[in-house]
């Protein structure tokens, strides 16, 4: 018998003293070879930045390996755990120091995974962040292929001149980010196409 999952509730405005932790936004040290910034701003439906959102990042390492080394919450400066957490600042901006994810299989497009939390969001939102290069892999990606062309760009990061990656998140509006639903996760109702 399948059990019904526990419903979600908003992270609320007051997670700020509880969930962020020291070094949470640094998956690697900024001096690490290949270190880059993955950053962006979280916007609401009016295009206003949200000052109380929180972002979590999941990713494989540069070789496409998934770390299962414990220690995700206590940064030791050496272990790459592939996970980070960052609260946005007063102007809705988040920033991670990390490395590019490697491909997890021949010809497969590498991507970061983000989870978005915030006051006013009754449930977390999932999305993928693809690297803007390697168009061959991007074309073959089954998820990207299934997203209407007009919205695909919302899943692509922008490469900045210094090599950093920018990924803005729009909860609503014309540029609304494509958020993902997985099988077996409780359905959320409300949004309509």
């Amino acid at each position: 018998m399948k059990l019904t999952p526990t419903p979600a509730q908003t992270v609320g405005p007051f997670f700020g003293y509880a969930l962020p932790y020291v070094g949470g936004a640094a998956l690697v040290d900024r001096t690490h070879p290949g270190a880059l910034r993955l950053h962006g701003t979280v916007y609401d439906g009016d295009g206003a930045p949200i000052p109380d959102a929180m972002i979590e990042l999941w990713q494989p390492d540069q070789q496409g390996r998934v770390s299962q080394e414990p220690g995700s919450l206590r940064r030791d400066g050496y272990t790459f755990t592939g996970w980070g957490r960052a609260a946005v600042d007063m102007v809705g901006h988040y920033s991670f120091t990390t490395v590019e994810p490697g491909s997890m299989g021949e010809g497969r497009a590498p991507y970061f995974l983000l989870t978005v939390f915030g006051r006013g969001l009754m449930d977390r939102l999932f999305t993928r962040v693809y690297l803007p290069e390697s168009s061959a892999a991007l074309e073959q990606d089954s998820l990207l292929a299934s997203v209407p062309e007009s919205r695909r760009s919302t899943l692509l990061a922008t490469r900045e001149s210094g090599g950093d990656l920018r990924f803005d998140i729009h909860l609503q509006g014309e540029l609304e980010t494509v958020f993902l639903a997985y099988p077996n996760t409780p359905q959320v109702t409300g949004p309509v196409d």
């Binding site: 059990l3 019904t4 999952p5 526990t6 419903p7 979600a8 509730q9 992270v11 609320g12 405005p13 007051f14 700020g16 003293y17 509880a18 969930l19 609401d44 439906g45 009016d46 206003a48 999941w58 990713q59 494989p60 299962q68 414990p70 220690g71 919450l73 206590r74 755990t81 592939g82 997890m104 995974l113 989870t115 006051r119 006013g120 009754m122 449930d123 977390r124 999932f126 993928r128 998820l143 299934s146 997203v147 919205r151 909860l171 609503q172 609304e176 980010t177 494509v178 958020f179 993902l180 997985y182 099988p183 077996n184 409780p186 359905q187 959320v188 109702t189 409300g190 949004p191 309509v192």
Partner: protein, 265 residues
């Protein structure tokens, strides 16, 4: 239609206006259910009586994705991440915190009823006066120098967790005029893969504010709402020490193939 201000400090609507909106949404849901519509088991992303959701809920359907690669894993947490004392929120400071000492305990299982073992559970809450240790909480209730309101633990082999803490109080918020939140404890859970990640809230049985709280009421189905309410459990209460509550948490059915290696940690 009444004006819906999205500013968090606006408080333009009365409780009666909010109640009427909630009640309209709930009756529409019940009618739809009675007509053979689908049971809703989760909160609504778009729930206008909770004003902050208006500009923050996606307006397009969530896009179906099949988990692959990194999505089949969760971050790894271990005993070097979490100290056992972090599960007791009453011993983090020099003195005893003010309020009713409680133990909140339960099991974390997946949709197939399998224990979710060795996983990080984080929780945070207001103190016994309804005040958070947060610079943006300006509610004029006292802070307790002996209570921060943050706890962490790892689930045991059977998925069990336990926190010793102080019963939080209701507190006012600015969703509408005279808005009060039901007393609650926030929980954050990871599960065994990316798709199981949830943040939720545990409530206390018999709270008089349930019907007035649009965040709690954003779950339109009564059976689903009940899943967030703990049970008073006298066997968890201890003589001359604490009262006890039990609350089990079900994460979404695991997408990951069950392998023997999973049983080892």
């Amino acid at each position: 239609m009444a004006h819906k201000s999205t500013h968090p400090d606006a408080a333009v609507n009365s409780q009666a206006e909010i109640d009427a909106e909630v009640s309209g949404i709930h009756s529409a849901y019940r009618a739809q259910r009675d007509g053979g519509g689908e049971e809703e088991t989760n909160a609504r992303l778009n729930f206008p009586p909770y004003r902050s959701s208006l500009l923050r809920h996606p307006t397009k359907s969530l896009h179906h994705a099949d988990p692959e690669g990194i999505e089949l894993y969760s971050p790894a947490f271990g005993h070097r991440d979490v100290s056992p004392v972090e599960a007791d929120l009453t011993i983090q400071h020099n003195g005893e915190p003010i309020g009713e000492r409680i133990i909140v305990t339960g099991r974390v299982v997946d949709g197939d009823g399998r224990p979710v073992a060795g996983q990080l559970v984080e929780m945070w809450q207001a103190n016994a006066a309804g005040r958070y240790m947060h610079k943006r909480d300006q509610h004029p209730a006292p802070l307790d120098p002996n209570f921060t309101g943050v706890g962490r633990t790892l689930t045991g082999p059977g998925g069990e967790y336990s926190f010793t803490t102080i019963k939080p109080a209701p507190y006012p918020w600015k969703n509408h005029h005279n808005a009060w939140r039901s007393a609650h404890i926030h929980f954050s859970l990871f599960g065994t893969d990316f798709t199981q990640r949830i943040v939720t809230q545990m409530y206390f049985p018999g709270d008089p504010i349930f019907d007035l709280d649009p965040i709690y009421q954003s779950i339109t189905d009564q059976a689903a709402r009940d899943r967030l309410v703990a049970t008073y459990d006298h066997s968890v209460s201890q003589h001359e020490w604490n009262t006890g509550y039990r609350w089990d948490i079900v994460l979404s059915g695991s997408n990951r193939t069950w392998a023997e290696e999973d049983e080892e940690h």
